[in-house]
Amino acid sequence: AQRVTQPEKLLSVFKGAPVELKCNYSYSGSPELFWYVQYSRQRLQLLLRHISRESIKGFTADLNKGETSFHLKKPFAQEEDSAMYYCALSDSTGNQFYFGTGTSLTVIP
């Protein structure tokens, strides 16, 4: 069963414009949600996790249990934000992780 859905494979925004990367999930129980990022020629790395409620590089994500969403937002996109973004879900045990198919973000100068 598809647990994490990222509906946009590609997303382009202009520098300085707001950006939102969508993520919806399907899971019964209390999952933990993450956003991972992969910059060009770099490894996959954690951007943020919902439990820490941090803002990393200007990005925030709010867990909406009613809509089962965990959209990633940034008010003003920068060129260095261009990357592949993956939404991920961990089951309640932390044993398994499910990743979405990813959204490739391009910030146009």
Partner: protein
């Protein structure tokens, strides 16, 4: 210190052959995960180790796939009788504890001809 390393970085093998992929996690990390990433897809969970034991191997696609972590550090993913559909990037990640931030390796690109 060094991050997660994986060897080889690329592996080309013929259909039906046996391959081993190695992962060196960050020192002291007890949790280790293997993923498979096919083109255009996100990482797909294969197996999770806590220490030396496979705590969850429900993601292994079939019995041709096996993984070990005998001393709780280095892990090896073993694939028998490889098939063309096994071609993918195999990722390894480690964390200080299950569910915590995962640190990924660069991956091994496996091509089965």
């Amino acid at each position: 210190g060094a991050g997660v390393s994986q060897t080889p970085s690329n592996k080309v093998t013929e259909k039906g052959k046996y391959v081993e992929l190695r992962c060196d996690p960050i020192s002291g990390h007890t949790a280790l995960y293997w993923y498979r990433q096919s083109l255009g897809q996100g990482p797909e969970f294969l197996i999770y180790f806590q220490g030396t034991g496979a705590a969850d191997d429900s993601g292994l696609p079939n019995d041709r796939f096996f993984a070990v972590r005998p001393e709780g550090s280095v892990s090896t993913l073993k694939i028998q009788r490889t098939e063309r559909g096994d071609s993918a990037v195999y990722l390894c990640a480690s964390s200080s504890y299950r569910g915590y931030e995962q640190y990924f390796g660069p991956g091994t690109r496996l091509t089965v001809t």
